[in-house]
Amino acid sequence: MSTKNWPLWEVFVRSKNGLEHRHCGSLHAADEEMALENARDVYTRRSEGVSIWVVESKHITASNPENNGEMFEPAQDKVYRHPTFYDLPDEVKHM
């Protein structure tokens, strides 16, 4: 019986140049080379990508949704960060 299980990897695929890599799922592999090969077979069987990133899941630090309040709410009352906050006369063009 196996002694150690293959670790989990997160897979990110760039669908074409000009677009960002996007998370598309995860898989198990013994090492990074195998993770890349498996990612190719599992997530790009129909030319869905031109570039793949794999990163071992344990290296990802994620924010906790329970702290979403203190994490993201401070941005909500800062309307002055948006162009619509500023009053301009209607006659002004191209701004």
Partner: protein, 318 residues
């Protein structure tokens, strides 16, 4: 957490789903939601994986290269579907090994349709056409389900399924227009796969236990009986088009309902197969367990190799 707090959280949770918000892995969720999703999603993954076996049976004997590459690609897709779904299920906190364990010990179920044998080439046609056809009807509504990773996996799956059904139907067209023996083979496959395909859409609503809760969580959008009716209504004309006969003497167009009436389903057979007494239950599990056990040394060797490589890298760095 106090009972009051949990109740509060649950109410907020249900309200989020009702607003069509998605639930993501790290969000708080009721234990029952987590358990129900682990059960349904892992069963779904197991079905994709076990579902490779009946068709794998014919890859080496496909009648032409065109058929062989198509069948191979289809079976490979099913492996992919299983992998998307396993990894989506893992986000709920169950390990891959635990899921395999549940499958191999019979604790977890998989779709009972895969416990029927594939005895002729025409079965490849009937499976793609009917079994994948019924699967699509089941799966399309799940693209909108409430659990984010499940919904995203289903979108990928559904995109890939339509080729599966078309390649199956194409096999049936060819056989149905072939020699009398070929046509008979196609009819025979339809005769054997029709009723199990109807059963695949689940027990009648009267006997389905999980429906109300599943509807609320968008794990289900339509009842089993509605899905079954949809499947029948869309499939009957496809059979007629290629001159095959649905093996149901009670099948009749109902002008008033604008739908087909159909005969009684043998639910005893369904429950027998679910309980493990179908023609191929033992065979399927044996194949799965063997594949897992005989592959253990490969998994171990790959892990040992990875560790050695890592060691070497670290030594060089010093």
């Amino acid at each position: 957490m106090s009972e009051e707090q949990v109740k509060n959280l649950e109410e907020q949770f249900e309200a989020r789903i009702a607003r069509d918000e998605k639930i993501e892995p790290k969000d708080w969720m009721p234990e029952k939601y987590r358990k129900t999703h682990i059960r349904q999603m892992s069963q779904h993954a197991h079905s994709e994986i076990v579902g490779m076996l009946p068709e794998g049976n014919w890859i080496t004997r496909a009648p032409s290269l065109r058929r062989k590459v198509a069948l191979l690609a289809k079976v490979q897709d099913e492996a992919g579907h299983g992998l998307y779904l396993y990894s989506a299920t893992e986000t709920l906190g169950i390990s891959r090994e635990e899921m395999y364990e549940q499958l191999h010990t019979g604790k977890a179920k998989y779709s009972s349709i895969f416990n029927y044998p594939t005895i002729t080439w025409a079965d490849m046609g009937a499976i793609g056409w009917l079994v994948d056809g019924a699967a699509i009807i089941n799966q399309v509504p799940l693209c909108n389900t409430s659990y984010g990773p499940y919904a995203r996996a289903m979108i990928r799956v559904c995109k890939e399924e339509s080729f599966h059904q078309r390649q199956g139907y194409e096999i049936m067209i060819k056989l149905a227009n072939g020699t009398p023996e070929q046509k008979e083979m196609a009819q025979d496959a339809l005769n054997r796969w029709w009723w199990p395909s109807l059963m695949m859409l689940g027990p009648t609503d009267a006997e389905s236990i999980h429906t109300a809760q599943s509807m609320k969580w968008k794990l289900k959008r339509k009842s089993n009986d509605d899905l079954r009716q949809q499947f029948i209504d869309q499939t009957v004309p496809q059979a007629e088009l290629i001159g095959l006969t649905i093996p149901d003497p009670d099948l009749k167009w109902n002008e008033e309902r604008q739908s087909y009436d159909f005969g009684e389903i043998d639910w005893d057979e369904f429950w027998q197969v679910v309980k493990g007494h179908g023609p191929m239950n033992k065979e399927r599990m044996k194949a799965r367990v063997n594949a897992w056990e005989n592959g253990a040394w490969v998994r171990d060797a790959a892990m040992a190799h990875a560790e050695k490589k890592q060691d070497r890298k670290e030594k060089k760095a010093v």
